[in-house]
Symmetry: C2
Subunit: 242 residues, 2 copies
Amino acid sequence: MTRVMDALPARKTLPRLDESLLTHLPPFSRLERRQIRTILDQATSRRYEVGVAVFSEGHPAERFYMLLDGYVRVVRITPTGEQVTALHIPAGQLLGIAKAIGRTTYPATAITATDSIALSWPTRLWDTFVSEYEGFATETYNTLGHRVGEMNTRIVELATQQVEQRVANALLRLINQTGRKVEGGIEIDFPITRQDLSELTATTLHTVSRLLSGWEKQGLVESRRKRIKVCDPHALVVLSQS
Amino acid sequence: MTRVMDALPARKTLPRLDESLLTHLPPFSRLERRQIRTILDQATSRRYEVGVAVFSEGHPAERFYMLLDGYVRVVRITPTGEQVTALHIPAGQLLGIAKAIGRTTYPATAITATDSIALSWPTRLWDTFVSEYEGFATETYNTLGHRVGEMNTRIVELATQQVEQRVANALLRLINQTGRKVEGGIEIDFPITRQDLSELTATTLHTVSRLLSGWEKQGLVESRRKRIKVCDPHALVVLSQS
DNA sequence: CTGCGATTTTGCTCTGGCGCAAACTCCTGA
DNA sequence: TCAGGAGTTTGCGCCAGAGCAAAATCGCAG
């Protein structure tokens, strides 16, 4: 939508990627410099602006990705056009790893929540990565396990908690995963609208707005447009459990 | 609770398990007779009566299982004691495969929905299975992928659908996965209470009861105690989508 | 065959939170 | 600097479905 000018020439392979990009990331941390070099040489680097789909639900899983910078929302879109956010993925994690669970198409759509940078590889390299690179498979499945755990938690939350608790939980999770310490609290590190939060908690933007207004009056949070700062996490924890 | 007499001596290793038990099951179908023999010789076979926990959430994942006969419900229990059913697993599938996703404890509790029989192996054999037995890893991850897909679907349903649609969907899924064709319709192949259905759809047994009563009047379903027969699946599909 | 506990049905009330509508406010791009 | 649109707030009415209560059934154990 915005800044179409930039969107067009977005794809580009940088001249030479530095090894340090990957050496600290779990899936690659046990590899030798030489192996990382090979991996990087096979990678495509690309910048995605905010709001762009990295890949889309149902499409053939042609590539898998490592998010180097930014945040990505993984969403599913219902037949009636509603969006449901399944996960938030921070920089440093793999995404689009359909191949790892025996799928040939992406099970969900990945949309950037900020301008982002990701490496990607053709899916045909997946098996090589798994077999050649020590720790890659293990770390990948750990990530997967973590996500399964999160999905499970979401199900339980949706099934048993009130809206207020779900929103409180969502905020807590967001500041845990992607929070940045700032003057007077912890702020969510990327722009997030009431609408986004409502898609994350299965409610409406109106209800989210009401809740945030209420909490702001009580000094639990502060918010401006697309920005939310949590000032009293503990109070939210209490709310989320009652 | 019931029939404690039977519960006590339940564990037993049968003298010699027949290879045909496993040869048709996907995770093992590509193996040679000799390999299957080895696998069976390492297995413990056990019968579980209905309502018994095969393993419990949070406990160390000491064994993994292959359900040979029966049905198992995978549930999570909230701090307040409510149960939420995450999945139903039919005979022929692996369960308790925490190790596959890098976990050392079970993420949920597995409860038998009928009397059941399962083989199990100590988790330390997992890596051997994955590396030695062709197709085992692939099939396992396919299963996992399938379950992730189901979980995703549940999230979307919980987030966007009305209770009536969720219950209709749940019934349809149950008859698809575990339905048995009978006179005048398809019956769910194991005893299931209104309570069970409500835990599967995040509602109350009262609401489920009302819905079933209504549907029964319209001839869509027939039900007795712990038994539900779907007479007009197509009508349910329509309901589940509107 | 009987009694009892488990399961199911049904009525009534109450409310969380959605839907609708409208006003407001803050950025952004020109 | 200003206009317009995206994002946010707030009020109001309503209703799906939960909670509570009680009665009605069913089917198994003894």
